[in-house]
């Protein structure tokens, strides 16, 4: 791996390798001394043009735990508010000797531009771009799912395993969600069956090409799919024009039809877990009952985020810099909201897999 721009760039083996590395990183974080000398002398720049709490803190913690020097840059309070362009900002960082640039930007494709334009020689990690991709979130979600669903519910060693046969339902604002796009691709690559549930107004154009099924009625889908995991997506009001933006009649109606509450939680299979990428709109897409239930692994997702980002930084930065470039330069990222049609690696294998028990068996290869 040279850069991490999109979940679609990861092959099944690469993704499993990140998860396995993350598991070893997580083991080191249970120790009294959590810091490792691995990236001593390397510089990681966090370039955040969009607001973020947990992603920025998570990357910062991950880099510091690996002994890298961290420079965190927020657009607020910088020359960006004076109108400095992405290019000039990147050239400034290059002059300071950044080995890796973690970028979050409101424009889809900004990380791809940064990685391919030659403005910086460092590795580029996409920490969320517009409505396009958020690959490290998908990786930490996959890691959390693997911990709970694979290897006898986390009691046996899941090293080397993917998510074959796991059924995951993503509910909510799919249209504006980069988390949903990255998750659909990565979960499919790892062999999981993904079902999207959203109001028709919040389903993007071209969703038919995604490796996922689409439903519009949450209760029907939950009864029908019997999911191993439910991932609630945040209603992204800041990306809607005004309160609701005409995407749904009222927050109360959205909450009744698509929110996760105690009744729907009770209808899930006993082993099913609830995920949410955060920040939560309590009372809108998820009630406090569901968010605080023991089956919600939302806080654990944050902890796993540090381990997964340590793994990503390790895999991008620790080896020789003259390594191979694994397909991350393919032009799938230029500013579209439908750039998600590429993750078709194992095609019909996942769809044709026996919709069997919750704990996944061996991977079904075509």
């Amino acid at each position: 791996m040279r850069h991490l721009l999109s979940a679609a760039d990861l092959t099944r083996d690469e993704a499993v390798r990140v998860l396995d590395t993350a598991a070893q990183m997580a083991a080191t974080q249970a120790r009294e001394i959590k810091k490792l000398p691995t990236l001593r002398g390397r510089t990681v720049v966090n370039l955040f043009f969009e607001d973020s709490t947990r992603t920025r803190l998570s990357f910062e913690t991950a880099a510091k735990r690996l002994s890298a020097d961290v420079i965190t840059f927020s657009a607020k309070g910088s020359s960006v508010s004076k109108g400095e362009s992405l290019k000039d900002t990147a050239l400034t960082l290059q002059a300071m000797g950044a080995d890796a640039v973690v970028i979050r930007h409101a424009a889809s494709g900004a990380p791809h531009t940064l990685a391919s334009a030659g403005w910086t020689s460092g590795a580029v990690v996409n920490a969320g771009d517009g409505m396009h991709q958020h690959p490290t979130q998908a990786l930490l979600d996959a890691y959390t799912l693997r911990r709970h669903l694979v290897g006898d519910g986390g009691r046996a060693d899941a090293t080397g395993r993917d998510l074959a046969g796991c059924r995951v339902v993503l509910v909510g604002d799919v249209l504006h969600s980069r988390v949903a796009r990255s998750n659909v691709q990565l979960l499919h690559t790892l062999g999981a069956e993904v079902t999207l549930v959203a109001p028709p107004t919040l389903v993007p154009v071209g969703v038919g090409a995604w490796p996922a099924r689409v439903g519009y009625h949450l209760d029907e889908v939950l009864a029908d799919v019997q999911p191993d995991a439910v991932m609630m997506l945040r209603v992204q009001r800041e990306r809607m024009s005004s309160a609701g933006g005409g995407f749904f009649p009222s927050p109360l109606e959205y909450s009744r039809r698509y929110g996760l509450d105690a009744r729907r939680l009770a209808a899930l299979p006993d082993h099913a877990v609830v995920l949410h990428p955060g920040p939560m709109n309590r009372g809108l897409e998820i009630t406090a009952d569901a968010a605080d239930s023991p089956r919600a692994v939302i806080v654990e997702q944050v902890a796993n985020g540090v381990a997964v980002r340590m793994a990503v930084l390790y895999l991008l930065l620790a080896g020789t810099t003259t390594g191979t470039t694994t397909g991350t330069t393919t032009g799938t990222t230029t500013g579209t909201t439908t750039g998600t049609t590429t993750a078709t690696g194992t095609g019909g294998a996942a769809a044709g897999a026996p919709a069997g028990v919750s704990v996944a068996g061996e991977r079904v290869d075509a």
């Binding site: 690469e14 396995d20 490792l36 620790a318 080896g319």
Partner: protein
């Protein structure tokens, strides 16, 4: 075959011969065409039995003893040493004696090689504080792996003493490190490669020398 994560797909098939490695990344266990067997299965077994006795003799028994194997080949060697120790010292549980110590994230040569997979670190119950830790590795070469192991160990606790057991000492040390217990001192050229095969992972016990200008 391997205990650790899968071999990354972007490893080159052969490392350049001038790069000294304690742990060749190519650990397929398939000997090259010019391999010379210097220790057979019986020799390896005898060396391990002797080392086990030496460890007990030096430390006056197995109390407070911890054997930490360095993945990948060091771990099965540590397990076999523990079995031999338990056979001599009644009341010793071999499983409670053995742990693994991954040194990947403490290496000083990470930037010179393709990304290495990270092995697992598992300490026996009771940890390492105040105990005598014997590091176990297959081949002692530059000493850099052991330096990394000492760093990794200091993050895990404070052993009363640290000792080193190696099945093969092939010389060419680059750091002031020596082994307390050696199975076989093996004079080699720097360009040669020493490969240890173990029954659990490679089907048979043997030590091979390959490559070099012979």
């Amino acid at each position: 075959m391997r205990a650790g994560p899968a071999v990354p797909p972007d490893l080159p098939p052969d490392l350049p011969p001038d790069v000294p490695l304690d742990h060749p990344d190519d650990e397929s266990g398939v000997p090259g065409p010019a391999a010379v067997e210097v220790l057979g299965a019986a020799d390896v077994g005898r060396a391990l039995t002797r080392i086990a006795h030496e460890i007990l003799e030096r430390n006056r028994g197995a109390a407070d003893l911890v054997l930490l194997g360095i993945p990948t080949r060091g771990l099965p060697l540590a397990r076999r040493l523990a079995e031999r120790i338990a056979a001599v010292e009644p009341g010793t549980d071999p499983a409670a004696l053995v742990g693994s110590l991954d040194v990947t994230m403490h290496r000083d040569d990470l930037a010179q090689h393709p990304t290495r997979p990270i092995g697992s670190t598992e300490l026996p119950p009771g940890g390492v504080d105040g105990r005598v830790v014997v590091l176990v590795d297959d081949v002692l070469f530059s000493g850099r792996t052991i330096r990394a192991a000492l760093d990794a160990l200091s993050d895990l606790g404070r052993p009363r003493a640290v000792q080193l057991a190696a099945l093969v000492d092939r010389g060419h040390r680059e750091l002031p490190i020596r082994a307390d217990y050696v199975g076989k001192n093996l004079p080699t050229a720097a360009s040669e490669r020493v490969r240890v095969l173990l029954a659990g992972t490679d089907g048979r016990d043997a030590v091979l020398i390959e490559g070099g200008a012979r």
